[in-house]
C-alpha cells in the first residue's frame, strides 16, 4: 500500500471535513502528501496554514492506524515531527535552543514550495518539444564518423554497467530467501535507532510499531522486539524511557547526551 509509489496520479485525500479516504497510492512520500493536502487549502503556499496542514496530516495518520493501514516509517516520522511542531506553535515560547515553532513552520513551508516548484519545472521540461517524440533527428544517419576520438561507441554508462554486472556476479547473484515471519530484536533496535535519530522529543513507543497486517504473530513479536530493543538501547545509554504509571504508555526519546557525541 504505502509502498507502492509508482502510480501516476496523486490520488488526493478527501477534504478534511469529509471522512478521510485512505489512499496512499500515488504519493511520493510524506512531503508529497503534505503538498497535496496543502493545495486543498487553495491559497498560495506562502500563506498556507501550517497548523491546519499538521492537523490534516495527523488526522490521516490516526485514521490509518485505526484501520490498521501499514504506514511506512517515514510517514510516522513526519507525523511525530508535525505533532512536535504543533506543540511548539501552540505553547508559549520556551527558553531552549530548539528551533522556534515559527522557524520550523517556515522551514516546512519552504520545503513545500521548493517541491512544488520542482514539480512544475518537471512538467514544463517535459512539455517542451522532445527529441524522438516531437522533434526528430536524421532518421538514416550516414555511416560517416567524423569524430576522430570516438571510434568505439562506449559510454560511461556501459563502463559502469559492466563493472556493476561484474560485482553482481561476484556477490553471488540473486538470492531468494523466504521472508521470516518474526520480528527480531536486532531489527527493532535498528528501526528504533533510525527513527529516534529524527524524533524531536518524547514519543510513545507504540507509535513506532509497524502495522498489524502481518498477522497477530508478527504483531506480537514486533511489540516484544520493540520493547526489548528499548531496554537494550537504554542499557547502552542511547535512549531514555519514561512511563508515568503502571500500564501507562511507554515514552522513548534519544538520550540527550548520547545525541551530541
Amino acid at each position: 500500500m504505502a509502498t507502492d509509489r509508482k502510480t501516476e496520479d496523486a490520488a488526493p485525500l478527501a477534504a478534511a471535513s469529509e471522512p478521510l479516504m485512505l489512499v496512499l497510492d500515488g504519493f511520493e512520500g510524506p512531503l508529497d502528501m503534505l503538498l497535496a493536502l496543502g493545495r486543498e487549502q487553495k491559497v498560495d503556499l506562502t500563506r498556507i496554514s501550517i497548523l491546519q496542514l499538521a492537523d490534516q496530516y495527523l488526522a490521516f495518520v490516526t485514521e490509518a492506524r485505526k484501520v490498521r493501514l501499514e504506514l511506512a516509517a517515514d510517514y510516522l516520522v513526519m507525523a511525530a515531527w508535525l505533532a512536535y511542531l504543533k506543540s511548539r506553535l501552540l505553547l508559549p515560547a520556551q527558553e531552549d535552543d530548539e528551533p522556534s515553532g515559527e522557524d520550523m513552520a517556515a522551514a516546512l513551508a519552504f520545503q513545500l514550495q521548493r517541491l512544488e516548484a520542482m514539480k512544475e519545472a518537471a512538467a514544463k521540461l517535459f512539455a517542451r518539444p522532445l527529441l524522438g517524440q516531437d522533434v526528430f533527428a536524421r532518421g538514416a544517419p550516414e555511416d560517416i564518423n567524423i569524430r576522430r576520438k570516438s571510434v568505439y561507441e562506449v559510454t560511461l554508462y556501459d563502463l559502469l554497467r559492466a563493472y556493476g554486472d561484474h560485482r553482481k556476479r561476484q556477490e553471488g547473484g540473486v538470492l531468494h530467501i523466504a521472508p521470516i515471519r518474526l520480528y527480531s530484536m536486532e531489527d527493532a533496535v535498528r528501526r528504533l535507532s533510525d527513527l529516534l535519530g529524527r524524533m524531536p522529543d518524547w514519543t510513545v513507543l507504540s507509535s513506532f510499531l509497524p502495522g498489524e497486517e502481518g498477522g497477530p504473530l508478527l504483531t506480537r513479536s514486533a511489540m516484544a522486539a520493540h520493547f526489548a530493543a528499548t531496554l537494550e538501547l537504554a542499557k547502552a545509554g542511547r535512549v531514555e524511557l519514561r512511563q508515568d504509571g503502571a500500564f501507562a504508555p511507554l515514552y522513548v526519546r534519544r538520550a540527550q547526551r548520547a545525541a551530541d557525541e
Binding site: 511520493e28 517535459f126 517542451r128 517524440q133 522533434v135 526528430f136 535519530g197
Partner: protein, 211 residues
Amino acid sequence: MTGFMIKEVTDAGEAEARIGKLRLLEALLFASAEPLDEETLASRVGPEVAALLDELRAHYEPRGVNLVRTGAGWSFRTATDLAPLLRQEEEVSRKLSRAAIETLAILAYHQPVTRAEIEAIRGVATSKGTLDILMEHGWIRPGRRRETPGRPLTWVTTDHFLDHFGLESLRDLPSVEDLRAAGLLDSRPVLLGLGPMAGEAPDEPPPSEEE
C-alpha cells in the same frame, strides 16, 4: 546555387569556395544524427565555421528541417511546429515514473547535486533504478565529488539531456531565473532531523546509526 544567401562576396572564386564549404558543412551535419561540436566542424571546414553555421541556420529557419544548437553541438532537427503532424505514438514521458521525472528536474535545476540533496528536496528516499534509468537514457552522469565530509558524488546533466529537451544551455531551462531569484534552487536540507532529510550530514547517504 540560388538557395544560399551569399553576402559581401564579390570575387567569384571566393564565392565558390564558400559555397563548397557550406555544402560540406550541410552534408556533415545532415549525415549525423548526433550534434556535432564547432571544434569538430572547424577541423573540416575551417575557422570561419561560426559564420557558415549562422548562414546555414538562417537558410533553414523557415523550412521543415531546422539547424539548431543544443548544448555544445549543432544538428539538424525537424521543425518544432510540425510536432503535431509528426508525433510518435510512444511518448518518452509516459514510460518514465513520476519519481524519475521529478528526480531529473531536480537534478537539472540544482546540479551539481548529491543524491542526499535530491532526497531532501523530494522528502523521500530515491528508489533504486531511478538514477540508473536516467543514466541509461544518457541524460545524467556523475559529476565531481563534493569536497565535504564523506566526499559524496554529485550528479549533473549531459549534453544529450540538452539535445533531448531542445535546450541550448542550462540557462534556457524553463523559469530557471525566476526560481533562482525566489531562492527555490537552494538544495540544502531545511527540515532538520526529519526523514531522509537527516540534518547532521546533509551530503552523505542517510547514515545508518548502527555502525
